[in-house]
Symmetry: C2
């Protein structure tokens, strides 16, 4: 029976570490305060946004939700992004797409208007390009795949042959890249690591899984009248796998903690660069 | 016995089409003249550069070789790139890296200083990001993988399961992406299409190849005292494959013709955008 890979616990762990990192950075750089702006136009009560705001507060990231009216035009969204690009108190920004407005908004354009260094969702094409070509050093990683990789690392499995189902910009494609550059061979056959991100409830059955594999289920599907389920048939798969993430409580919480990780990291870079600038040239 | 996939012939074909495309664009847009700048500091007699210059002339692309002294600094290279970015007669630019200078030059920095729309080598991280995430519409593709795909298309094989050996920025990684977005599943097992780009002379043997596969050999290795050989053992592989590219005369010429294709295409976009701007608003 597979061990449960507890994303909730791992993400609490990451947030605890982030909190103390923020505290020590505050010692080092006076006034250090990582800022996150969440641009959206859904309800304030939106559960995803609330989770992000609450977790941000807990680790010392100053987050604010900028709620746009549903009459916003594309130009208005773009100038909001521009003003956040220019705002030195904002180190990370995410735009919750698709925006629900009466006007047509080009999601692609909006994503790529964000400064790559503030793109804590890791979706800007220049961050995607770095990831795809293995330039990981100053690349901001998309949160869900980054969270999956953290979970995989906790299993201490050697990543050799990995399978990724799905190729979206947010999950599947960056996940394949991350695994490739972490020395996995990514294929479609049965692998030691199976990451599933296809958005189909309980689609992957037990006999698709190589015995002893680590199964990472990104899916979040709500079945009417029942609780949330993943893309993997958990009951079956847990009998075959060595490790498996539950839904909920697996990948989901990791996404939030990696978002905060990205934000703190980008704030740290700015602080470091500022100090470098201020060091008098001898 | 495999049919030979004649890159030289296909590239002649592409260049012929490009020539007539340039001619008809000249009819349409007065003064239309695609410009290509090749920045380097190797000998003018360099065979690769000469091939590019000669082919450019043949199709009506105005190419010039800008030879930098070997004392060039990084700043000088970057300001050369900047001036070509600003030059409206230049629609495509390539910097032959690594530059052979006495000063250290950050190749990464130089590549990403080129305007993505003039990056006809397709190596800028934003072009890489578009390719990696399947935004192919206004993406400039790297020439060697683009040439390989053209060759694959000529075999009229249905791309299903493809194998790519190698994951460099120039060949392997973009090739995997291109195949993925052309609906192949890319894996490491024996595939219907095998693209080899590992830089090891005659490394891939006949029994690695699935019978009937299409074999695309990107390798260019010179064996002392002998002619150029590819990364695939041609003698063996041709007995197993259905199609195979020779070395030389396979992928190599395609790279040049795709470079010109990219240049003409970018020049065409500029011409089209100019016309759009000039159309009076009613
Ligand atoms: N935990 C978290 O924080 C997050 C969870 N998610 C969840 O992860 C899942 C995937 O999300 P996302 O990537 O955005 O989804 P998308 O719908 O954007 O992409 C789904 C991908 O799966 C592929 N796919 C669909 N069906 C099949 C199939 N039968 N076989 C093979 N591939 C298939 C699609 O292929 P093709 O490209 O050919 O169409 C596509 O690439 C969803 O359940 C979503 O709710 C997403 C983001 C964050
Ligand atoms: N025809 C043309 O116009 C062009 C031809 N070429 C030729 O193509 C070939 C590849 O070029 P390029 O991609 O630039 O080369 P690189 O040396 O940059 O990359 C080689 C890649 O192959 C991988 N590799 C090496 N050995 C093995 C092995 N035994 N098994 C699996 N993978 C292996 C490396 O892996 P790792 O990442 O782990 O190091 C690396 O990703 C060369 O022969 C080159 O001359 C290149 C450009 C243009």
């Amino acid at each position: 029976m597979a061990q449960r890979l507890d994303g909730k616990a791992v993400s609490e762990d990451i947030k605890k570490n982030l909190k103390s990192e923020v505290e020590s950075l505050q010692q080092k750089y006076t006034g250090f305060c990582p800022g996150l702006a969440i641009v959206g136009n859904r309800e304030d009560s939106n559960v995803y946004i609330n989770q992000k705001l609450k977790s941000a507060e807990a680790v010392g990231v100053k987050a604010r939700h900028i709620k746009l009216p549903n009459t916003s035009t594309q130009d208005e969204v773009l100038s909001m992004v521009q003003s956040l690009n220019d705002d030195p108190t904002v180190h990370g920004m995410i735009v919750q797409l698709p925006l629900d407005t009466v006007n047509e908004i080009d999601a692609h354009l909006v994503t790529n208007a964000i400064l790559p260094s503030k793109d804590v969702d890791g979706l800007h094409q220049s961050n995607a390009g770095k990831l795809a070509r293995g330039d990981l050093e100053d690349c901001v990683l998309p949160c869900t795949p980054a969270g999956c990789l953290e979970l995989i690392k906790r299993t201490a499995s050697r990543v050799k042959l990995a399978v990724v189902l799905g190729r979206s910009k947010i999950v599947g494609s960056p996940m394949s890249d991350l695994l490739t550059w972490n020395h996995a061979t990514v294929t479609v056959r049965k692998g030691d690591i199976v990451v599933v991100a296809i958005g189909k409830p309980q689609f992957v059955k037990g006999d698709w899984i190589k015995p002893g594999a680590v199964v990472i289920d990104c899916g979040i599907n709500s079945i009417p009248g029942r609780r949330l389920v993943g893309d993997v048939d958990f009951e079956e798969a847990q009998k075959v796998a060595s490790w498996i993430t539950p839904v909920p409580g697996g990948v989901g919480p990791m996404t939030v903690s990696m978002l905060l990780w990205n934000t703190v990291n980008q704030a740290k870079r700015v602080a470091e660069a500022d100090v470098e600038l201020k060091v008098p040239v001898p």
